[in-house]
């Protein structure tokens, strides 16, 4: 069984935010009105923002400044603080290490959102809405079972949502392999942000396979994880610039 991991090479990232747009289209994350965005209600499963985020770090005074950007999907931690605090098991780590979110079970207590040190979880403050004609072009994919609703399915009001490494793409690829009566290969599937990345900065694969691209990149001396000291052990791993 695979253990999915994403590697983002910051040397190659041009901060174009193509990943954010691809994610939005793929996963049906609604765009919110500017006044709502100002209240911090914008949905950005994949965000791209300048570093440092911690105001105590020096960035210099103009014109002697340094600018660095970081794209941020879910970290898919091996030890996720969000899952520990969920009272109903609406968020859980599957056998392939992906942190999933079940919109059909979430009670909207937002314990996971305050528990996540990376701020990757988003809450549906209002009913999701799209301007015409965008609402006619939603991604029809969804992951559904009795008592389970995941993936790009339009989220009901009052539940939490997040990046799932495009779980529906994984399910689809696995179903296709089964239909074609062949074993599923890890390279059958990549999330939308990886597929679209302009600078080819994103890599995706099975970190348990020592020969996979991600496994080899993780061994690089440039590899680091965000907030390593918190002990969450993310599977989204970065390669430092330089």
């Amino acid at each position: 069984m695979a253990r999915w991991s994403m590697v983002i090479d910051l040397d190659k990232c041009v901060a174009c935010q193509g990943c954010s747009i691809a994610c939005r289209a793929e996963n049906n994350t609604p765009a919110v009105a500017p006044d709502q965005a100002q209240l911090g209600r914008a949905m950005r499963w994949n965000d791209v923002f300048p570093l440092p985020v911690n105001s105590s770090e020096e960035t210099g005074v103009y014109p002697n400044v340094t600018t660095r950007y970081i794209p941020r999907p879910c970290m898919h931690c091996e030890n996720p603080p969000c899952i520990r605090v969920c009272p109903v098991g609406a968020t859980f780590k599957n056998s392939e290490g992906i942190v999933e979110q079940n919109y059909a079970r979430c009670i909207g207590c937002r314990f996971c959102t305050v528990g996540c040190p990376y701020g990757v979880r988003y809450f549906n403050w209002h009913k999701a809405a799209w301007e015409a004609p965008m609402e006619q072009h939603l991604n029809p994919d969804r992951v559904e079972d009795p008592g389970l609703l995941e993936g790009p399915a339009v989220r009901p009001l009052g539940v939490v949502e997040k990046c799932t490494y495009c779980i529906h793409r994984l399910k689809k690829a696995q179903a296709q392999a089964e239909a074609e009566n062949r074993p599923f290969r890890p390279d059958d599937y990549v999330p939308a942000c990886v597929q679209t990345c302009t600078g080819k900065a994103r890599f995706f694969g099975d970190m348990d396979d020592p020969d996979s691209t991600v496994s080899r990149m993780i061994k690089s001396t440039r590899a680091f994880r965000v907030l390593e000291e918190v002990g969450t052990s993310p599977k989204t791993i970065y390669l430092r610039e330089g």
Binding site: A37, L39, P81, R84, Y122
Partner: protein, 444 residues
């Protein structure tokens, strides 16, 4: 025809007076006013129910605000009763007797509002039963739910048991009240006849339960704090948060008892039943709690500030000099400086000053709860600080109306209770309840 006994209490008529009072225009205005405020809260909640939590001022990263503050505050308020009646019972402090029921009623009535606050805060309160169907004990929220519901259930039993002899007394004494009222007393008194062995058994059960309730006081508020303490967030993840919450809870609870007692004493003319020296006892306790609160405060902030960790300091500065500085220093004045001066120099034999200090303490403790919760959320480790409106939490009218509604509901419930049941325990405040069983009456 069963013979029933009731211990003789020379203040009985004073204590029963509120039950026999006519409903005056002033009563109606007060109840009506509270009901309207409560209704406003209900209206605000319905608005939120239909259009979502977007009606609040919450967002990202401030996911929790006023509702969670209210939750913590109400549960804290609830600690008054159990502290007074259970812990002081174990300690054998006889002076507690007249005020036990008034304090326990605060416990009993604030708990549902605490639980209600959690439900109001949920994005999908319609799915609340998922907690039972799919509950995971790894989540501190489940600890909370277990602890608070156990606390609520035990409080009801504890409260009801100590009320039992007085319900029976009402049944026998208040023969002129409407029939349904009589029937309610008859049903609720469970055939209590007041024989000595009944009193003996009752005392035994109450003593036993007091031990259990004391354990619950400690557990419940510690567990409430762990909702924050168990996360890895700066400012929340500290071992001190449990004891700190507990001290704060008992502090605000005891202060609330003073306010309620002073009101009862004045409105129901209970000067002889609630003598000024009761307030002097409470004053001494409150001085201890005020100092204990300061001790906790210093222990927490000195450790954080001295350690100077990069993640923790932004939260600390948010409180000291940042967006929450005004609230923070107001809290310092209202919880510590003002009350300690009043308690030590002005409060002795002076109920007016005691009430002023205790109102100040409760306002301050509400602010303290808010300051534990919100500043941490405004300085997360890894959320882009360039985001528009970053961490700019302003509660909306919906949140404020619901908050006012909850407090009005609590006051209303309390007021109505005092008109149906004796708010001072009659059987516990007799001169010598064990031996003197003078009056007996027949009842059908």
């Amino acid at each position: 025809m069963a013979l029933t006994y009731h211990p003789y209490n020379k203040n009985e008529s004073v204590i029963l007076d509120p039950l026999l009072r006519r409903v005056t225009a002033r009563d109606l205005i007060l109840w009506g006013g509270l009901l309207i405020l409560f209704g406003l809260g209900v209206y605000a909640y319905l608005t939120q129910w239909f259009s979502g939590l977007g009606e609040t001022g919450l967002g990202r990263p401030v996911y929790w605000g006023l509702y969670i503050t209210n939750f913590v505050f109400f549960i804290g308020l609830a600690h008054s009763g159990t502290f007074i009646s259970a812990i002081l019972r174990l300690a054998g402090a006889g002076w507690r007797k007249p005020l036990t029921r008034a304090a326990e009623a605060i416990t009993l009535f604030s708990l549902p509002f605490g639980v209600g606050s959690i439900l109001i805060d949920m994005g999908r309160s319609d799915r609340v039963l998922n907690i039972i169907f799919f509950g995971r004990f790894q989540s501190p929220l489940l600890w909370d739910i277990s602890a608070v519901s156990l606390y609520l259930f035990s409080s009801i039993v504890f409260f009801y048991l100590s009320l039992l002899p007085d319900i029976a007394l009402c049944r026998d004494r208040l023969t002129n009240v409407p029939a349904w009222w009589q029937k309610m007393y008859r049903l609720l008194s469970l055939g209590w006849t007041g024989r000595p062995e009944q009193f003996e058994r009752l005392e035994k059960v109450l003593d036993g339960m007091a031990i259990f309730m004391t354990l619950l006081v400690v557990t419940v508020h510690t567990v409430v704090s762990w909702v924050f303490g168990m996360t890895v967030q700066p400012g929340w993840h500290t071992a001190l948060i449990g004891p700190f919450f507990l001290v704060g809870a008992i502090f605000s609870g005891t202060a609330a008892v003073v306010i309620v007692l002073a009101l009862l004493r004045r409105v129901y003319h209970m000067e002889n039943v609630l003598p000024v020296n009761l307030f002097n006892y409470l004053r001494k306790l409150l001085i201890v709690f005020t100092v204990a609160w300061l001790y906790m405060m210093l222990a927490e902030f000195l450790t954080t500030g001295y350690g100077n960790l990069a993640d923790e300091m932004p939260v600390l500065w948010q409180k000291f000099t940042g967006d929450f500085a005004l609230l923070f220093w107001t809290m310092g004045i209202t919880v510590f400086i003002l009350p300690i001066i009043i308690f030590i120099f002005l409060g002795k034999n002076n109920i007016g000053w005691m009430v002023v200090a205790c109102i100040s303490v409760n306002i301050g403790m509400w602010i303290e709860r808010f300051l534990v919760i919100v500043p941490t959320e405004t300085r997360p480790r890894f959320v882009s600080s360039l985001m528009d409106g970053f961490a700019n939490y302003r509660p909306t009218w919906v949140e404020i109306a619901i908050t006012i509604g909850l407090f009005s509901g609590l006051a209303l419930l309390y007021l109505i209770f005092t008109r149906f049941f004796p708010i001072i325990p009659i059987w516990e405040t007799t001169e010598d309840s064990e031996t003197v069983l003078l009056t007996s009456e027949n009842h059908a």
